[in-house]
Subunit: 350 residues, 2 copies
């Protein structure tokens, strides 16, 4: 007897557009005091009680930003939210709500979307944000995710890309390069799998960097930490495209120059060993890799004692006069001009 392989797959046509949204969002509760009305009307209603509203939006495209052959849908849901929360935290604000829109082809059964929303739900729960809206529609091919995050902050707490001054210290959170190398490991395993579908990949030695790629964490904890340490950065940005391009953004908006010291860039031991394995330069990866979702900020030198020794924060350089330019000071004490080599979505994936 032939087995019905689709027995646990519910087609999207059965549910229809309205049924689908209702089904996928029915278990999302509103927890933020500012969320008055969520999914289910023409629009959501929020009340920030005198605080400023912060908004950020990002789009993720299958085949460009993610590959479902190694990105589980639950992770994709989680990461889609993280990417946006990261932008809100980079303003030194607290994220409060998200809207999640999806375009998907009919090759996805309902169960796949449920998995995606499980990831969204987990992100919302862990980061205490409410899902308050979204749109679900069909695509002719592939999956596209668009997330908008809303946040709140007191006016005086908000930190912009501009505001940095010469002699400010340049600080980065966590460590860099892991997400990019994690992607290289996953891509390599995919190629091995193509040649030998029976191969069992041993990702154990790479678990840290693979997790950095598949399940990045936005640095909400840093916004809390800075408040606790009573440090307000003079400028801040999140690292989505690689250290180089983020340093360039801060310098451009603040009209300053910068010296970044190669030997100060924080690298996890796994990043160093995987770089060697892939015959890549670990500094280059940290500078250009992207997707680490760490925060990069500048502080007044007077605040240095407050952050000194904190394991989450590493001083990697200092700002200079604009005329001095933007440079990487290598271990050999050579001065190399930094150019934006961040991930450029229009060059790749032709």
């Amino acid at each position: 007897m032939l087995e019905d392989k689709n027995q646990e797959r519910t087609s999207l046509e059965e549910l229809g557009e309205f049924g689908l949204i209702e089904h996928l969002t029915k278990n999302f509760k509103l927890n933020q005091p500012s969320s008055l009305i969520g999914v289910g009307d023409d629009a959501a209603v929020m009340d920030y009680e005198g605080k400023k509203t912060i908004v950020s939006t990002d789009m993720l495209v299958e085949g460009v930003h993610f590959d479902l052959s190694y990105m589980p849908l639950k992770h994709l849901g989680y990461k889609s939210v993280m990417v946006n929360l990261s932008d809100i935290y980079a303003m030194n604000a607290m994220a409060t709500q998200v809207t999640v829109s999806l375009a998907i082809s009919n090759r996805f059964p309902l169960e796949a979307l449920e998995e995606f929303y499980e990831g969204v739900a987990l992100a919302c729960k862990l980061y205490n944000v409410d899902l308050v809206g979204g749109d679900t529609t069909s695509s002719t091919r592939g999956m596209i995710v668009s997330v908008t995050a809303l946040g709140a902050a007191n006016e005086n707490d908000i930190v912009y890309r501009k505001g940095s001054r010469p002699n400010d210290l340049l600080v980065v959170t966590g460590d860099l390069g892991g997400a990019y190398l994690g992607l290289q490991v996953l891509k390599r395993e995919k190629e091995v799998f193509k040649v030998n579908p029976n191969s069992q990949p041993d990702l154990e030695p790479y678990s840290y960097i693979v997790e950095r790629q598949l399940k990045p964490e936005a640095r909400k904890d840093i916004v809390d930490l800075l408040k606790k340490l009573e440090v307000k950065p003079t400028s801040m940005i999140d690292i989505s495209d690689g250290l180089s391009s983020e340093v360039m953004h801060l310098c451009k908006h603040s009209e300053v120059g910068c010296n970044v010291f190669e030997d100060k860039i924080p690298l996890d031991p796994t990043v160093i060993s995987a770089s060697e394995e892939f015959k890549m330069d670990s500094t280059m990866i940290a500078m250009s890799g992207g997707e680490d979702y760490e925060l990069l900020f500048t502080i007044d030198q007077a605040d240095f004692p407050k952050i000194k020794g904190n394991p989450n924060l590493t001083v990697i350089g200092h700002m200079t006069e604009k005329s001095e330019g933007v440079h990487l000071i290598t271990r050999a004490e050579t001065k190399i001009p930094i150019t934006a080599q961040g991930w450029n979505s229009f060059n790749e994936n032709q």
Copy 2:
């Protein structure tokens, strides 16, 4: 000598992701007092000064929601904004900001995106909303637009889908069915063009319905009008999917029934003549066509004198007890149950 056909086409790779966003948004000014910081940082910052914040988001997919062979990019930019503003007005709120995200394949030159943003700019100008953010990325195929609209309202002014009571009057703005028939005309011309590329379509007799499809207008004027007339609807929704499904939404959320009178449904003469030409039933088109972006709302009977005779507003029915169900009363006085036959994006475009 061979002509370089691409002489006025600037490739997106030349500009890169950052240059592109900057280029496309550089002429957008912030006009809303609530827009503090727009495009250019990790997120936008808004201040609604005690008013509630309203948020809505929608995604438009090439090949599903639009066909670039008859939808000029400028119109697409305009319509993408309208679709979202319409949701904000349906809450009886004023739209204040939008974010616009685009995924596009490299087949589009910069000039095409500029055209799209011209439409966005025109919509923003005419409806007095600010573009404050967005994302521009590549897609493996086709174009996807995701817009999020933000608005503001005093708590007491907000109108939801719920709130309607038995005996309330059901009111619709403008007229219905035009957008759907406009699409039929455009589709027919496309087929004619395929057979004979030299044919010159005469769209003049169809200009009203073609414009309803290509350049819909969200009913901001109605929010102003209702305020002026001192009428606060008991429930409201915008007509994006056709009258049937919107009536069903109001009834479901308000837990009431409804009688809609076929002979009261407002139809433009062009809709009636085009329906005959296409051998389609004009009532069916108004009920199921969608994309008219009119507003559908209910009012207390006591408010009827305030709206009576207004050329923008037509009473098309009344709400009943839930147990009486949702019905269309035909010209022949037959009672037909209304079922949601709105446009279902998962059934079409397989």
